[in-house]
């Protein structure tokens, strides 16, 4: 099968700064990829290389099997949703959406129908004669999406598509964006620094740092089985527990913390070298009382409770002396207070070993 996009050993530097260090990857047709990383990690550079705003220093980029070497942006059939949208302020919504159609040689009489179709797709029928500055942030985002999709691009690039919106709108539009992407079925690459956005939009996530792809895979794989400390920390909150592997039995090892707390973890090939365990707060189950302490559970005392709406973050000091944070659903029938005696437990497969 021909890849929708393929990077082969692509390198790019700006002066002294290495933006991309020998990157290779490929995207399947129809797939949605999320490029996730902090600012300066090179994700935007990948986008600008695909769009043709930059040229790679080394390596090749192909789109649909065709080399892009030397092709200008307007010679590639790529759609781009800009961060902050880059809508043309002096044109109406219709003119913005029709701009690509006019310049990609569509017959003039077909343009109004296609523009209307796009307005319908993003639910903005009737807004065609407005100017961008007369629209809300969410509406502008949808116009930008319609403009990028109007010319049937073989590939859609989205640069921080939701970052300019406030939190509530961001959630709504994320779902809507996912629906639109599914409806048009085009290959899409989303660039974002927000891990929630990456996990909800991307079928696969590429986590990037300092010009390198640190890990790629399905959202759950990357979240639950990070291969590096960077990925573990970047994908969400983690508890880090220092210690060593004391025994291994098949797929489960026993880990002993510095304070002497022993618990089962998912085995790793070179177990002896492993000095840290990463466990996400939501994997740490917490129950009141010390009754269930034993082989799986560990007794402790609540130090502090922070309520975050849907969740509660409970800081726990275990009887061993280890400290751990548990994230649990905030329910009216269960409460925790500082000083309360509790028991925690963690499924072994949620505990990932690191060197």
């Amino acid at each position: 099968m021909i890849s929708a996009v393929e990077f082969q050993s692509v390198g790019k530097s700006f002066g002294e700064t290495v933006a991309l260090d020998n990157i290779s990857f490929s995207v399947k047709p129809g797939e949605t990829i999320a490029l996730l990383g902090p600012s300066g990690c090179g994700k935007t550079t990948i986008l600008r290389l695909i769009a043709g705003f930059e040229r790679p220093d080394s390596g090749t980029i192909t789109i649909g099997g065709k080399s892009m070497a030397g092709l200008k942006p307007y010679e590639r059939n790529v759609g781009l949703l800009f961060q902050h949208y880059a809508l043309f302020p002096h044109m109406t919504v219709e003119q913005n959406i029709g701009y690509g159609l006019r310049h990609r040689g569509h017959a003039a009489r077909e343009i109004p129908a296609r523009v209307a179709e796009m307005l319908d797709l993003v639910r903005l029928t009737g807004f065609g004669h407005r100017r961008p500055n007369e629209l809300s942030g969410g509406q502008q985002q949808r116009v930008a999406l319609a403009r990028a999709l109007a010319t049937h691009p073989s590939l859609l690039l989205l640069d921080e598509p939701l970052s300019a919106l406030d939190a509530k709108l961001r959630h709504e539009l994320r779902t809507e964006l996912k629906d639109v992407l599914a409806a048009v079925g085009s290959t899409a690459i989303v660039v974002t620094h927000d891990q929630e956005e990456a996990m909800s939009l991307g079928e696969r996530i590429f986590v990037m740092s300092r010009g390198e792809i640190m890990q790629s895979g399905k959202p759950d794989d990357v979240y639950w089985r990070p291969k590096s400390r960077f990925v573990a920390d970047f994908m969400g909150r983690t508890n880090w527990i220092r210690g060593s592997v004391v025994a291994t039995d098949g797929s489960v090892s026993t880990f002993r913390s510095e304070f002497g707390w022993e618990f089962p973890v998912a085995a790793s090939r070179d177990g002896a070298a492993m000095k840290d365990v990463c466990v996400r707060p939501e994997s740490v189950e917490i129950s009141s009382g010390t009754g269930r302490a034993g082989a799986i559970g560990m007794a402790g005392r609540v130090e502090d409770v922070v309520t975050l709406g849907a969740f509660r973050h409970v800081s726990v000091e275990l009887s061993s002396g280890d400290r751990i944070i548990s994230a649990c659903a905030n329910r009216p029938d269960i409460s925790f207070e500082a000083g309360q005696e509790i028991t925690i437990s963690m499924p072994p497969q949620a505990c990932v070993l690191f060197a």
Partner: protein, 279 residues
């Protein structure tokens, strides 16, 4: 009420009255001479008499229109102002685009150099051009005037052009190109329309400055090409009568038309934002 707050209040009252007084006197000082000029232009008397005119008439305008040198210099001024505007806007807009396109060594120096004619006394520019163009053998009066006027008006167009490009994000031309527009198409369909306010403001300033200039034109005018202000100055020095008031009314009318156009197309608030008046 404590004595402190009482003195504070009276201090406020005095300071406030003083400030309003200055504002009122200032506005009166700006407006009254112009109002007097407009009124006197319609004076029915045939001599320069004290205010107010006993009757109104258009005879000063008729006298103005009967002076051949006024009419020919008005024509020269209009042609010159139009040519100056076209040249300055083209040169200035192009230069602004060039300066705004990325960083390059010498950008700061070049920008200052482009704006430097604004800080050189116009008389020095006029006198310098006179000597240089005589030496260079350029004797055509219109060509000399045009060069002199473009030198002092192009910087305004560069300034307004640059200011309007500040709002024009590079990403907008990127967006146009990814949508299939070539560099050239993106320039004409995105960059130039976005510079509209700057171009119009620059054009109106160029036209007005060219229409009004005396300091440069006085050196470069010759019998074949004399501008209206130059003719008016020599008339003013020859005989101080009210034909000049009539001419002033006409020139003011031209300015008011320009101002109305400016407000309709750009808006005064945007004019102030064009970087023409800054500290």
């Amino acid at each position: 009420m404590s004595t402190h707050s009482r003195t504070a209040r009276s201090g406020d009252r005095v300071a406030g009255a003083l400030a309003y007084g200055v504002v009122g006197l200032g506005l009166a000082f700006l407006a009254i001479p112009l109002a007097i000029t407009c009124l006197m232009a319609f004076d029915a008397r045939t001599f320069l008499g004290p205010l107010p005119p006993p009757a109104l008439s258009l005879h000063w305008f008729e006298r103005l229109a009967s002076q051949a040198d006024i009419l020919s210099s008005l024509r020269t001024s209009l042609v010159l102002a139009v040519l100056t505007t076209i040249l300055s806007v083209s040169i200035g807009t192009a230069a602004a685009v060039g300066l705004a396109r990325g960083d390059f060594p010498g950008k700061g120096i070049l920008t200052s150099a482009f704006l430097s004619p604004l800080i050189v006394p116009p008389v020095v520019i006029g006198f310098g051009l006179l000597l240089f163009l005589s030496k260079a053998g350029i004797t055509n009066g219109m060509a000399r005037l045009l060069l002199g006027h473009v030198i002092v008006t192009a910087p305004y167009c560069i300034r307004t052009g640059l200011a309007s490009l500040l709002g024009a994000d590079r990403r907008l031309t990127d967006a146009a190109m990814i949508l299939g527009a070539t560099e050239r198409q993106a320039f004409w369909s995105i960059t130039i329309p976005l510079m509209k306010t700057g171009i119009i403001t620059g054009a109106i300033f160029a036209f007005a400055i060219s229409m009004d200039d005396v300091s440069i034109s006085l050196f470069l005018s010759d019998p074949s090409a004399t501008t209206l202000p130059v003719t008016l100055v020599s008339n003013m020095r020859a005989a101080f009568d009210l034909t000049i008031a009539a001419a002033a009314v006409i020139l003011m009318a031209v300015t008011v038309v320009l101002i109305v156009v400016l407000d309709r197309l750009v808006g005064f608030d945007n004019v102030v934002g064009q970087g023409l008046f800054r500290s």
